[in-house]
Symmetry: C2
Subunit: 131 residues, 2 copies
DNA sequence: AATAATATCAGTAATCATTACTGTTTTGAT
DNA sequence: ATCAAAACAGTAATGATTACTGATATTATT
């Protein structure tokens, strides 16, 4: 209904996200692209991140630190958030979709998805806190 | 270091939360208490909810709808969020703590917690959408 | 019961992430 | 080359939350 037109800003935002494994926020994307796009608008970054997330080309991560993070890896996987440094890290783990079956056992609605974030102290923070 | 003093506003906020199973937001708490506390301040509600959450007397739920919900039931349990009506519903389900072990298998940090929210269509919305 | 110290309050202003608006520029089809 | 509309930059507005300020309430001490 609303044909999508090309924009080099959107392409740059998606390309940038694909080069990163650290799940940047909108503001990080904005600041990283500013050298190449001196008059890029923060609103453009937000609009395109929302659009790409709606299209399913990226993931929007609400990790609970007050600002959304984004991930160009849309394959099913989970995330860990370090309670100390705040970094968001991919987890390599087997699937746990059976938790939806467990959750649905005594529930009269339809469960069709879940989000899970793991918390704790990341490897780097573990090392640096050893005396 | 900072001795806690009694306040009837804080007591009322906690008491109110204990009467509810629908996980109200700060604004809902505020509006529900206004008849009894005509000059209650929204800031007071926010401050006390944050304080109670820090003390572990209530849970802060970041369900992803942009505004935090609160729960006076601090026993371990999970939540379902209806994608249609937005209601937050307690789930009665067995424990799934083994997902932390699964997540930790190929991870070099320490995992000490997780949050999981289940999404879908609640029982009421399922019924009302049947023609 | 009066006093003093300070936690808490009400009311308001400020902050921060995000979204909406407006007039201009780009895109893509004719 | 022309035109409709998608997208833009820049800015204003929104909404949830937090911080500030001077007044009030609570608690311990006299």
């Amino acid at each position: 209904m609303a044909p999508l037109k090309y924009s080099k800003q959107r392409e740059a935002i998606l390309d940038f996200l694909k080069t990163r494994k650290d799940h940047p926020t909108a503001d990080m994307v904005y600041n990283s692209l500013r050298p190449d796009f001196p008059n890029l608008s923060l609103g453009t970054v937000y609009r395109n991140l929302a659009l790409l997330a709606d299209l399913g080309e990226i993931l929007r991560l609400r990790v609970g630190d007050g600002t959304d993070h984004f991930d160009a890896d849309v394959s099913p996987h989970y995330h860990f958030i370090c309670s100390e440094c705040g970094s968001v890290i991919d987890l390599e783990m087997g699937n746990i979709d059976e938790i939806e079956d467990i959750a649905g056992m005594n529930f009269d609605g339809q469960i069709c998805g879940h989000v899970t974030y793991f918390y704790g102290k990341c490897g780097a923070c573990c090392k640096s806190s050893m005396s």
